[in-house]
Symmetry: C2
Subunit: 216 residues, 2 copies
Amino acid sequence: MTKQSVHQHEIQVTVDIVVLTVDDQKLKVLLIQRGIAPFKGQFALPGGFVLANETLDAAAFRELSEETGTENVYLEQLYTFGDPKRDPRGRVVTVAYYALVPAGNSPLLAGTDAAAAGWFGVDELPVVAFDHPKIIGYAVNRLRNKLEYTSVGFELLPKKFTLTKLQMLHEAILGRSLDKRNFRRKILSTGLLIASKEMEITGRKPARLYAFRNLK
Amino acid sequence: MTKQSVHQHEIQVTVDIVVLTVDDQKLKVLLIQRGIAPFKGQFALPGGFVLANETLDAAAFRELSEETGTENVYLEQLYTFGDPKRDPRGRVVTVAYYALVPAGNSPLLAGTDAAAAGWFGVDELPVVAFDHPKIIGYAVNRLRNKLEYTSVGFELLPKKFTLTKLQMLHEAILGRSLDKRNFRRKILSTGLLIASKEMEITGRKPARLYAFRNLK
DNA sequence: CCAAAAGTGTTAGGAGTACACCCATGG
DNA sequence: CCATGGGTGTACTCCTAACACTTTTGG
C-alpha cells in the first residue's frame, strides 16, 4: 500500500464459493462440471471474476446466484489463495467463500460454461480442478470449528425443525455421533431456540418443532 | 473460476501487514508515515503490491523485510478487503496479514515513500490512512481469540523469559488482568514450556527462566 | 529489617460426558 | 400389541475462578 507504485496488471481476482449443505446425513459440497478448458470435464467450485465496481462479498453472492440460482444464503469469507501456479491460464488470486444452504434448496442452474452440477459428499469427491480440493478442505474445517464454539448450523435447516434433525445435522458435519440428552440440554440452554406449538407428525410419536430466535 | 472469461485488468492486488508487538505493557502496531499522496503524512500499514511470481505469503514477508527490516516472524493471513472505494487511486484488493514480533526487535528502516515509522498502542492510534483502522481491528480481535483457545503469544517474547513476563504479555493482549496462580498452573500444564536452569537476576528474588518447547 | 517481586494450594461452581428407560403414536 | 423414534435425569470428572501468605533477594 505504501512502497513504489509498480503496476501489477497481470493479476486477476476471482471469488470461489464452497457451497455446503447436509443431506442424507452427509456433508456435501456443490460442484460444477467445467464445459471449457482448462480442466474441461472436471468438477470445480462455482465462482468467477470480481467485477470492477462490486465488493468481494457482492461478487460471491452474484456468482452464487448466476451459477447455481442460490439466493439469501449464509456466506462468509474463508481464505485467499494466491499461488502463482494455481491456475494454468495465468496469475489468478482467488478469494474463497463458503456458503451454507438448507438441503434441497438449490435449483442448480447450469451456467454458460457449466455443463452439469451436483452435490458430492466431502468424503467422496470426484476429481476436482485447480486447487479446489484444498479450498474445500479449508471450508469443512472452518465449518466444524464454528460449530464447536459458536452455535451455528442454523442456516442449514428449514425454519422449523425437530431437535433430532438438528442433532443429525451436527453429527453429519462433525462426522461423529452425539449423545441425545447432552445435545438437547446444551442446545436448549443456549436460549437460541424457541419451541413452537406445532408438532411434526411423522407416523410415530409426534416431535416438537423448534425455530431459531431471530438474531439480528 | 468457471463462468465466462471477462478480463479484469483494473484490479490490483496488494498485501498489508499488521505488525503487532507488546511493549511497555501495551499491545502496539507498527505504522509507517506516508511520504506520498494519497494520505500523504498520514500513517498506514506496511504493505505493497504482490509481484508476478510470488505467493501471497512471500509478498507479505518481502514487504515486511523491505519496509521494516523485520525477518523471521510469525505471519498469518488475516482477511481480504476489497471494497471498490477503499483506495482512491483505483481498484485495489488487499490481502491483510498479521505478524507478531518480540518487543524491540524491529530496526524500522524507512522505505522510499515512508518518511517515518513507529509503534502505536492499538488504543491510541493516530490518524490512519485507507481502511487500515478496520484492518488493525480485525488483527487485534484475531490475536485475542487465538490467545484464548490456543496457546500462542510465544512469538512475542525472547527465547527465555519469566512466567511473570509471559503473564504480562497475555494481560496486555487481552486487556485485563489475570490471576497469577491460575495462569501459572494452566500454562505449565500445557507442557509447552520447559524450565531452564537459569534465573533472571533482577535485584529482587530471582525468577526462573523458561523457554518454549520447539514445536514444529 | 524492609521493600519488592517470586512462588505456591485449596475450594466451590459450572460444563462436559457417560449412561438407560418410559412414552406416544400408527399400523 | 408392537415397532419406531421422542423424550427425560443423575452422577462423575474436569476445568475455571476466587482467594492470601511465605520466600528470596538487595539495599
